[in-house]
Amino acid sequence: MDKRESMWDVYLRKGMSRRSFVKSCVALTSLMGLSTDQVSKVVEAAEKKPLPVVVWIHGHECTGCDESFIRSGAPLASDLVLSQIALEYDHLLAAASGEPFEAHLEETINKYKGQYILCVEGAVCTKDNGVYCMSGGKPFIETLQHAAHNAAAVIAYGTCAASGGIQAAKPNPTGSSGISHFTGKTPVVNVPGCPPIPEVMTGVVMHVALFGTVPPLDNEGRPKQFYGNRIHDTCYRRPFFDAGMFAERFDDAGAKAGWCLYKLGCRGPETYNSCGNLRWFQGMSYPIQSGAPCIGCSNAHFWDEDPMTTRMPEYGPLGNVDKIGAALAVGTAAGVAVHGAMSVIQKQKREAEEHEKE
């Protein structure tokens, strides 16, 4: 009863073939952004490592991340939940509720101390002792601290958990914040996005599960394999940007032809996420492909960088973008330089504005 099965054990028990097991491992390897020479490592881990116990808790959030998670296409959420992880506690899918459910959380924490993965969706409410986010008669902040301190690793799913999200936008009425200030020494992986791409969510939990360690992270605690590129650098409209061809209004001829959305406020040039390479629903689309400028939802505090349809404030209302575009068209090297400069200008401008306001 207490033997914990590995992914391979589960496949064996279900009478599934070695071939399909190896196939899943190959899929997982590429999903995790690893090169194919890592497949053997993944297979080894999947053979030996017991199914990882996962505890998923909710703070101040909208459940969009949970919903995104169950949209995962490869692996399918059902496979993941039933064969690849042991999801012991989750408000959205759990059968139980109330006291027995809370008791089960305690049991799980005690039984798997230092071994389980804690997924957190939503921000921490810190104001007035946390009374604005209560569950089980206790403030969420207590549950978070207790569960995080005993976990092997914490995954902060969504911009809410990573940096406070929408409720932390000005004036932050409930004193909401990202969770990493409250997780003690346990390593935290930030998986921002509002919500994150489903396959990014499943990919990160599988990485922690199979390798027993957090993936390589950037300086904001995000897995490099998913947040290493700017949307802009992987955008299918990028050639139009470089050629200085911009949609000027929603639904004009440029918008129909798929020209760059920069002038409509696109934040692709300053946003790190996988929308450009993975896209949503396994390559089906992403906001820019559907004609909507990127709102930068994986950036910390992007909610306070409004308005969303205005760019490059010091150039006036989107004035000189044409010139920039034209300059870019001259040569790639120059393009990269001007481009980098633009992002820096935007950032400095915002910082200056912030100081003024404070």
């Binding site: 009863m1 909710h58 909208c62 459940t63 969009g64 919903e67 995104s68 169950i70 949209r71 995962s72 959420a77 059902s78 039933l82 999801l87 012991e88 408000h91 959205l92 759990a94 139980a96 109330g98 027995p100 008791a103 104001k127 009374v131 604005y132 986010c133 569950s135 008669g137 940096s163 929408i166 409720q167 932390a168 936008a169 000005k170 004036p171 932050n172 009425p173 909401s176 509002c194 209004r249 929603f250 639904d251 004009d252 129909k256 798929g258 949503w280 629903f281 689309s285 992403y286 906001p287 492909q289 559907s290 004609g291 909507a292 709102i295 505090h301 308005p307 969303m308 915002r350 404070e358």
Partner: protein, 635 residues
Amino acid sequence: MKHVVVDPITRIEGHLRVEVQVDEATGKVTDAISSGTAWRGLELVMKDRDPRDAWAYIQRICGVCTTAHALGSVRAVEDALGIAIPKNANYIRNIMAATLTVQDHIVHFYHLHALDWVSPVEALAADAIATANLQNTLLGAYKLPFRAPNTSTTEAYEHDFPAATPQYFEQIKGKVKAIVESGQLGIFSANWWDHPDYKLLPPEVHLLAVAHYLEMLDKQRELVTPHVIFGGKNPHPHYVVGGMPCSISLDDGNAPVNTARLEIVDRAINMGRSLVNNYYLPDLLAIGAAYVKAGRVDGGGMAKTCVLGYGSYPIEGYTGTSDGGFFKNLLIRCNGVVEDFGKGLAAAKFTEVTAEDVTTENITESVDHAWYEYPAGKKDLHPWEGVTAPKFTGPKEGTETNWKALNESGKYSWLKTPKWKGKLCEVGPLARYIIIYTKAKKGLLPEPSWAEQMMLDQLDAVSKVLGLAPEVWLPTMVGRTAARALDAQLNAEINKFFFDKLIANIKSGDTKVANSDKWDINTWPKECKGVGIYEAPRGALSHYIHIKDGKTFNYQCIVPTTWNACPRDDNAGNGAYEMAMKDTQVKVPDKPLEIVKVVRSFDPCMACATHMFNAKGEKINVITTDPYSGTRVDK
């Protein structure tokens, strides 16, 4: 008398706690309270922002009905500025709304509600051959063959019949058995599986439903692809004030919407129809019929006394909402209130809901039992004058941060109490069906639209299956769950209806999808107000915006869950959840499965229900977040 607390109620969106008093001898619930236990303050966050961005912010109220608030919001802004959207944008928004409704109801039934009715443990006793036979019988008996008239046929044959072979069910049984025997039950852990309610259904129904629980977990994602095509992603697809961002072109290779991409939308719509007709309705009717036969017609509560709807699906564009334009060409005219439906049709009373109701004092909110404070002497306030000053008063027993029992005679929830003409109302699919049915039977629906007629036909068909009149089975917990399934079928057809309209319109040469005439803030009036209304999957939703100098001065929403989950009101009595719990028998007070079942029959979605805005414009407490150096919080 036993005091029973369920907190958290899981399988919902957000944080909810209920407390009931149960008479142990009779199983009667003598009192019940429902408490929203979180409060996020989004409406205050809205202040001073660009109204053209409002949809993106306020949509994050809820990640489950993810497009509902975006739609409410763009409608409110367009109403304020007098923007009429292009035909295509209206069709696409309707497709997105219908898509949401179908997918949301399916996920609710299978993943958020089914485990209250069916159990994987009971499924182990099922015979795989008998289950396969049962599946075939159900498909024959319980398929309701309703279709929107004259819609296109774009599939050669219907896909995705549920598998009905013994091998299939044997395999599912093996899967479930392995999980149960491993001792690591995962999401199935710690539930009251030994509750007598799980014995109400034969093991074969349990196995069938558990199999479909798993099937639907995989399939639900494919239903929302229209959001991914038109809005770029799901959850939280993108919108734009004045129409939709997804320009249409049959000439440009890179166009967001072209023939290939419309085909993806069509496939999802067809799949929605297929899943509702072949899985959802037969499963629901099998379970519902067993409950009704066992005499379980409780849990109706306020459905018997007062329900409210706003009406849905503008067939073509409209000029505005506050001027009444929205109500003029609705596909489903359920804009109304029905009182006393539980007393029978003769006693039931219908009152129309008009633009006047959504814009005047006919709708108000009170805070007698909510953790807010109104200025001295104020009792009921219209959303425009709404004040939201938090006043947390702690529980009755326990401490501020360790609750034992909440104070039913004082304040006990982060939800306000909305009222229509001083009365509490239930909203949702059940309300929509009760309203259309009552209107028709009272001769107030002289020329029903095809959709309204379909609603009446659906009710007829189900009444035949159950052998009871709608007045008897509708206002119950089973009726609330069944109305949601019928609503899913209806919306699957509506989806096709608007898809065909979209195709026909594009074919006629009209590809316009956004109206940018009023995009420039300099063209706006100095001050204006707007309302956006929508029948969300969970019921009547209204967003209110007040724009001043090009910025959001005030933003308010009255959401379905506030109507249903609100705390009591000193004059009007209990809210809908509370009424429904009081109308439910509890067999084992320590294991109040009936209570969570009746609460979940409303499809609770709490995050959207917590209000927070001080309309006087005073900021309550400012905590600065610096976009580039992490969050600073004052503890």
